[in-house]
Amino acid sequence: MPPVLQIIDLKDSQATRSYLTKQTLRSWLLTTDHKRVGLLYLYTIIVFFAVAASAAAVMRLNLLTPRGDLVQAETYNKLFTMHGVLMVWFFLIPSIPSVLGNFLLPLMLGARDLAFPKLNLLSWYIFVFGGGIALYALLIGGVDTGWTFYTPYSSTYSNSHVALMAAGVFVAGFSSILTGLNFIVTTHKLRAPGLTWFRLRLFVWSLYATSVILVLATPVLAMTLTLMALERIWKVGVFDPALGGDPLLFQHLFWFYSHPAVYIMILPGMGVVSELIAAFSRKRVFGYTFVAFSSLAIALLGFLVWGHHMFVSSQSVFAGVIFSFLSFLVAIPSAIKVFNWTATLYRGSISLDTPMLYAIGFIGLFTIGGMTGLFLATLAVDVHVHDTYFVIAHFHYIMVGGMVMAFMGGLHFWWPKISGRMYPELLGKMTAIVTFLGFNLTFFPQFILGYLGMPRRYHAYPEQFQVYNVLSTAGASILGLGYVLPLCYLIWSCCYGKPAGNNPWGAKGFEWETTSPPPSENFEKPPVQTEEAYAYPVPSSEPITE
């Protein structure tokens, strides 16, 4: 049962009736309140994260020894597929847009709710239904094709429950499309008076860019998985080499979705970090329009670069050169964002609370992740490091070092608004540091492993790679601790945390002008935007003793 948020009547806050007051099951399962749908998503993705993270833990333990004694090859293959599928489609893609996005977008726009509230609840039900099918496929035997489902292995040679898993992901894809659609229409149509496009919060900009990708890329995945599953059931299909079909066509269609999908995962994280940096350095974000447009640029260019996954897949040399060049271009907007965040800190009044620690961690790790992306975009180097642990380290630096750190930072930053309670600050800071260290110990050795040539998805490996695998497993245990702690103290804070006022951080934004937790209709009287975003007063030069 999800942790039910009790509300002891807050003596000082005037909001006797917040969106959490009514606690009947019906009020949760039939809610059209975007805040509650956000929480429903939060509870669901915690379940998926737990299952996927435990799969990763078992894999890391298995890799302690070169012969991989913990699990057999078959089980290991099912573990990394489970880890991949659940993390990608049931944690990374939905987490920031569906949890923080659902909760905050109407608040940040000064609206009462999303454009299509019932559609929003429907997208949660579709998500849970898809997730249910995926978990069922895992329970009755699992899938051993990897989250990439490459044919002809997935369509002909694998004898695991591939079609069922593809159906689960197909259904969950529609929840992404509906969420993206909802956000696009809400951002266009439901902005508060005075809230022009260039006064929008940067988190809203990044959600908008993400929604464009969600709507335009996810259907191609739906079609690709359907074709693969039909080929598996019908024994005849579009990718079957015996008929003259081309397995590379599957890879083109799959990566046409899956590379923009990694931008779906990172863009909202960038939006959250823009918010955190501005709030905790009490300063306007440097180069607001550039940061906003770089989100859109990443979304658009993200659709042109997928070929860098196929440099060694016998794709033509001409196409390889084109995709390599375009992959370098897509790195520019990310670089602009990082430089602008750093410039925002200049002459700010910075307080290193937990969310800020996560944001700074994000900048460091995302920079490393982005830079190693350049290694993979360089043709000659990618031929060597493709499908090795170098690639694993690269995308974990972006996904875990970038997106999950940003999600944690955002969760801590808006937790007072979500639950009306403050989390324990010291414990939060400690966890952030533990996560940062554990993460680096886990994934930095994998860069070296990758260049040494250890291929990915190996349950056993030659002895010379053991040193780095042992380090990586050690790091994984620390990282695991870093994720369990927040789960505990955040639940604890729901009941015993210090009641948080409307604006515990003193940050600018509509969501900080209403009570925490906010009433169902978000604002007593609809807010009006009068100045630009993050219009913090000039911080005084003398030290501020709080």
Binding site: L248, H252, F256, S316, F318, A319, I322
Partner: protein, 94 residues
């Protein structure tokens, strides 16, 4: 633009669509050879834009609707062109 004009306009667009259908089937009899696919796709594109602009009333909609309707087709073009850049150049030798 009241509904009566809208009705007659729909009728005219319909006649045009049927004429284009007849034209595309008729072009088979002209045995155009290599130009055949080009003609057929141009006719189909014209029919499609007629339907989008008039029947789906994009012509009288806000710029946002123009953006969204064009976006779908643009992205399809990206997918087709970049994948074909691989398939077409597979047999190039240097």
């Amino acid at each position: 633009m009241n509904a009566r004009q809208e009705g007659t306009q729909a009728g005219m667009v319909y006649v045009l669509l049927i004429a284009l259908l007849a034209a595309s089937v008729g072009s088979l009899f002209l045995h155009l050879g290599p130009w055949q696919p080009v003609i057929l796709l141009v006719i189909a594109a014209v029919q499609a834009s007629l339907i989008v602009l008039y029947f789906m009333q994009v012509r009288s909609s806000t710029p946002l609707i123009w953006l969204l309707s064009a976006g779908g087709f643009l992205w399809l073009a990206i997918l087709l062109l970049l994948v074909l850049s691989d398939y077409v150049s597979r047999s190039w030798v240097w």
